[in-house]
Subunit: 479 residues, 2 copies
């Protein structure tokens, strides 16, 4: 084998005849040991690093660095990262992932297949296609449903809205300029910003997302939706889609799917459900009713990378009628090998080349099972109830709404301070929780104010963390 | 810790206090051993699996499977995959990746940070920002340059064309409907289909990519570009960008960047260089001249996931003026924590949530170094010359053009058969190479015919593979 003449480090590539297995094993062992040393002591590290600039690591060197230097740099980067494995890291939708999804990611990386075409990923393309058809039926979208994995929930939303736009208007080939009326979509005023990004990309402009008022619990008000559609039509616009959210970004609330679905049907609008975060509730026997109505969806975004604990990225776009992708999205890659009846996934997705995210999903499904997810999800919902209950006990705290999943959001409204000082008070409280208790909660801007957002994903987060959280809140509120 | 009450398998998650380290190590060892057993004997496995349906693996089970069953299913999936580690796997742009990029992917998976915001990926967001500024300067784009990693070269092209569109037309907020003239871009007739996908997504339609004739070596003809721009203006269209390709998809050729850059400047058009594949030549002292002119680019796509041997996905979009992203792309995520001067990468990229692809890139750069890449790249270019030389020796073979990088494309034109039978002959030759020699070359459709495409990426592919390839070609051509 010719590698020596290229003067590369001994383990730079794996000799396919096994010639450097010993070097490879040494290298793997060092990285694995580094990872496990950190992860098995994650509770002792802060959930977020102290604020600091990027560690001084080299960029693009002329000559190779030795492995000790590289590992020293890696260590700085790991310690400078968000520590999702800490039971006190309860501020974002990024979970501690399943062990097997981490290992799946490693296997996927070793194989380096490409989801662009069937030929470049024979097993994974077929597995993804089959598994997503199964997810389509699982969510009640019917026998013609199917979909694909995408690199983010926002990409899944973009994929869905692209198809919705192309179904409604004949613009794939000639573009939007010939249209007489401005296409618009409707979503609640607390829906995710990826919708504006999608309409900006799609040439419709960010204004094409018409915000519909939501109630005190962040749920879209159906009567307001009907009025908004009527108003848009009267103004000469061309409504083509309605987006309902399952698990709003800040408070984790759920739009009333049955009513919104009915309105979309009556108005002949595409019905997209963005369940990127909240779709997890469908796995719980106790919580599934919250997603009643999802079976009406024309398309659905759901991210196993969030509440199914699959390491990033793993998001899916599902369609009631998968065959629409062939007609209303497909861009042929004529240079590729014909894949027979199978449509190359890169021809019908926003991405071309794509990582095989399906393996880590498949592995996680096998090891946890639907019922295992149900227990994880119920546990998170119970803890969120506990947080809400504790907040309600304290007159100087306000809840942002009833939790509908594993998210609870509250803020201090201390009546001994002017209301104008409350944002600052909550900001300092958040900092104190991190500094003094190793508890990280996020600090979203919501309805014009700063709130403390608690997301109960980590399976090692338990009542003791909630107790410490409120002990610190009490101490902070005591002059 | 409360995990036991959830009845999850012992190693499902890593106890952050170390309680299940023994189980975790057992699980890791089994997966690593599986991967290394396969990779260190990859030369003994076919480069592509025999054609077969998806192995019978379960989908979404109610109850967990045991780990032996899971590993048995994994083994079927691995054996059903493209075997990029085989020295005979020389048909696609998907390399055997560096060992350290595989391990980086594992570390990234364990940390599960999110490139959406600085807060969710403090070290990796800053590292990506800094490293891409360095890449911008490396490619000669100047001190104001920078960019981001994206999930695919096609996404990088979309990112660049979005900014180009938004700079040229005031459409971010209100969309395209008010425009009077159809925006169009120019690219060679063998440019990548991701450009049509991008203009379809962007609401311009697939027809908005105006194909410019290329010469016999698949390089755009500058005079044809000038004529196409003039013709479009005369027809009332609104040209806004020119795309030059470095490393065409099928034959790996390079458009004449200096001339195209000059035309773009004279015509006041955005100049995008799609060097997704071919950007690697810039790392070689011997080959860098081929990219002269790239320093004129307004934006540049380059995929370390191809010729820099970083495992998927790792693609970059670079901009001459990074600050344009703030003005002409940014969609604010108002709910996130303010990141000070740092612009959250999810606000200025097509993707929101994103995997930290930067770690495996950084690790690979450290271990290989710029000079190591130069040796790898020169080696591939030499082998491509060798393939071209062998093809030229045989009167019944035709080269698709002079190799300009590590790609050589040829086909049989056996004069003892009618020309109409040649596609079939080449198809059967490709099948014979796979079946009889464990050599996989791809079979693209190019200028209306089937060709054999050889891509010399694998560092363990050497002269002996080329010899076997042509011995089989000779045997096949001998009646």
């Amino acid at each position: 084998m010719n590698q020596p003449e290229m003067q590369l480090p001994a383990g730079a590539f794996i000799d396919p005849q096994g010639g450097n297995r010993a070097e490879i094993e040494r290298l793997v062992d060092r990285f694995v040991a580094h990872a496990l040393d950190f992860l098995t002591s994650a509770a002792d590290h802060p959930p977020m690093p102290a604020e600091s600039p990027l560690p001084e690591v080299p960029g693009l060197p002329e000559e190779p660095a030795d492995i000790d230097e590289i590992l020293a740099g890696l260590d700085l980067l790991v310690r400078g990262s968000m520590n999702t494995a800490s039971p006190g890291c309860i501020g974002h939708m990024d979970p501690m992932p399943t062990t097997i999804s981490m290992l799946g990611e490693f296997i996927t990386a070793t194989l380096n297949n490409n989801m662009f075409t069937l030929e470049m990923s024979p097993a994974f393309s077929r597995l993804e296609d089959r598994l997503l058809r199964e997810f389509g039926r699982f969510f009640g979208l019917g026998e013609r449903s199917g979909g694909m994995l995408t690199g983010a929930g926002g990409i899944a939303n973009l994929e869905a809205l692209t198809v919705a736009r192309n179904v409604a208007f004949d613009v794939q080939k000639h573009g939007l300029l010939g249209l007489e009326r401005q296409p618009v979509i409707f979503a609640s005023d607390v829906a995710h910003m990826s919708l504006q990004k999608a309409t900006m990309l799609l040439g419709l402009g960010t204004d094409a997302v018409i915000p519909v008022a939501s109630d005190a619990d962040s749920r879209m008000i159906p009567e307001k939706l009907e009025a908004a559609i009527r108003h848009a039509r009267e103004a000469g616009q061309a409504p083509f889609a309605v987006v309902a959210t399952v698990g709003t970004t800040t408070t984790g609330n759920i739009d009333p799917l049955p009513e919104i679905g009915r309105i979309a049907r009556d108005e002949q609008l595409w019905f997209h459900v963005d369940a990127a975060y909240g779709g997890g509730v469908f796995f719980s026997d106790a919580q599934r009713w919250r997603m009643d109505g999802v079976e009406q969806a024309d398309s659905l975004t759901f991210n196993p990378q969030k509440w199914l604990y699959v390491t990033k990225t793993c998001a899916m776009a599902l369609f009631r009628d998968y065959s629409l992708l062939n007609r209303y999205f497909r861009i042929g890659a004529s240079y590729t090998r014909d894949a027979g009846d199978f449509i190359n996934l890169g021809e019908i997705g926003v991405q071309g080349t794509r990582h095989a995210d399906v393996l880590k999903l498949w592995l996680t499904l096998q090891q946890i099972g639907r019922q295992g997810f149900a227990r994880l999800i119920d546990h998170g919902c119970e803890l969120a109830e506990r947080v809400a209950h504790e907040a309600e006990q304290r007159p100087y705290l306000e809840l942002a709404g009833r939790p509908e999943m594993n998210i609870a959001v509250f803020r201090g409204c201390p009546d001994w301070l002017p209301a104008g000082a409350w944002d600052d008070w909550n900001t300092r409280l958040q900092e104190s929780l991190l500094r003094d208790e190793n508890i990280f909660v996020s600090l979203p801007l919501y309805r014009g104010h700063r709130w403390l957002r608690v997301i109960l994903l980590n399976p090692y987060t338990d009542d003791s963390v909630i107790e410490r959280l409120f002990e610190r809140v009490d101490a902070f509120a005591t002059p």
